[in-house]
């Protein structure tokens, strides 16, 4: 995941510019290269969309709110700790107040009695906000197909990313976070004002 095309693209650019500044970089033969990014074609300055810059900043400084109710929460602890270290993705600052959080991470079985509380936490979060359902229980009720358990948190709040597993390993949780980052990076400024988004919230009876 770390040898992303963007890095390779940048080195191509440097090689091209080496004609001007006199630096050459060795690029192995047979390597497929991407086109030079649009914003660095000019001389000494770049052009991009504000939306993209804001998206980049938001994606790399997520404040997650861990809503951990069972064993998936234990996996999340491992995800936060040194071996996996969610801090590498700019999300090491956990927010235990929903009003400061960007990302609601629901990890574990949600009993029907817990449903209204989860909903209230979601409503208290400020826009823009994202939700990730970690593990089988949060995603679908999991093995708890029973009268007391909510059959997936998407019965009460909208969900952006589902992470499968029972429980999912830290790698899977990281993958879910990366998916969330992609969503954040590519989100339009107008999405939260759009009729589609309002209709989505209304379908959950929120606002």
């Amino acid at each position: 995941m770390f040898c992303s095309p963007a890095v390779v693209g940048l080195s191509v650019h440097r090689k091209k510019r080496s004609l001007e500044v006199g630096i050459t970089l060795n690029i192995p033969k047979g390597l497929t290269l991407v086109d030079t990014p649009e914003m660095i074609k000019g001389e000494g300055y770049g052009l991009t969309k504000l939306e993209k810059v804001v998206g980049l900043a938001r994606a790399n400084s997520i404040w997650p709110l861990p809503f951990a109710t069972s064993c998936c929460g234990i996996e999340f602890m491992a995800t936060m700790a040194s071996t996996y270290d969610l801090g590498r993705f700019g999300a090491e600052r956990l927010s235990f107040s929903p009003r400061q959080a960007d990302l609601l991470m629901v990890m574990g079985t949600i009993a029907k009695k817990m449903g209204p509380i989860l909903r209230q936490v979601y409503i208290q979060m400020a826009e823009p906000k994202w939700v990730i359902a970690v593990g089988a229980c949060a995603s679908s009720g999991g093995i708890f197909d029973t009268y007391s358990v909510l059959q997936g948190i998407d019965k009460v709040i909208p969900v952006d990313v589902y992470v499968p597993g029972c429980p999912p390993p830290p790698e899977a949780i990281l993958d879910g976070i990366l998916k969330i980052q992609e969503l954040i990076k590519n989100e339009s400024f107008r999405r939260r004002q759009s009729p589609e988004y309002k209709a989505l919230l209304e379908s959950y009876g929120i606002q």
Binding site: K113, S140, G141, D145, T146, Y147, S148, Q151
Partner: protein
């Protein structure tokens, strides 16, 4: 020190006809009483000078749908801390009138246990100070541990029986 023989004899002398059966299972006395005397029996066992069953370990409900007119049951586990001996008391009654006298006036600990039993089996405890649901949603419309209800969530929409071996 008292033993199981002493307890079963004492109970039989005291309650006579109201004792339906006394069995020994896994070294523990299992006594079935008429539901009319169960409250008095627990009080008598607690206040008894020798036996002193002064601790209510557990209280729960049971449902036997195949037993005609005694589908419901309440089980009491008593512990004599002074003698370090335990017994189990039962009473059976019909699901048409699932009602039994509360023991909260004897053991305050029975309060939540009776609420739980009501919550899951719908058994009414006469004289309970605050008989309402304790674990399930307050607006739940049924008593989920009765055998006539399926264990699975009836509101599920995304789970097909055939994928769960239930077809």
């Amino acid at each position: 020190m008292i033993d199981n023989n002493y307890i079963s004899q004492a109970i039989q002398e005291q309650f006579g006809e109201a004792v339906r059966s006394i069995e020994l299972s896994y070294d523990m006395l299992d006594i079935v009483l008429e539901k009319e005397v169960i409250h008095d029996a627990i009080l008598w066992l607690k206040d008894h000078k020798v036996m002193q069953f002064n601790f209510l370990t557990s209280l729960c409900g049971m449902n036997y749908p195949d037993r005609k007119n005694e589908e419901m049951s309440v089980v009491y586990h008593l512990h004599s801390l002074t003698n370090n001996i335990r017994i189990r008391l039962h009473c059976f009654f019909s699901e048409k009138e699932p009602k039994v006298k509360t023991v909260t006036d004897i053991f305050a600990a029975a309060n939540w246990m009776e609420r739980e039993t009501y919550d899951f089996f719908g058994i009414q405890f006469d004289g309970h100070p605050d008989l309402r649901r304790i674990l399930n949603l307050d607006d739940m419309q049924y008593f989920p541990l009765l055998k006539k209800y399926p264990l699975e969530d009836a509101t599920r929409t995304d789970k097909e029986d055939k994928y769960f071996g239930r077809s």
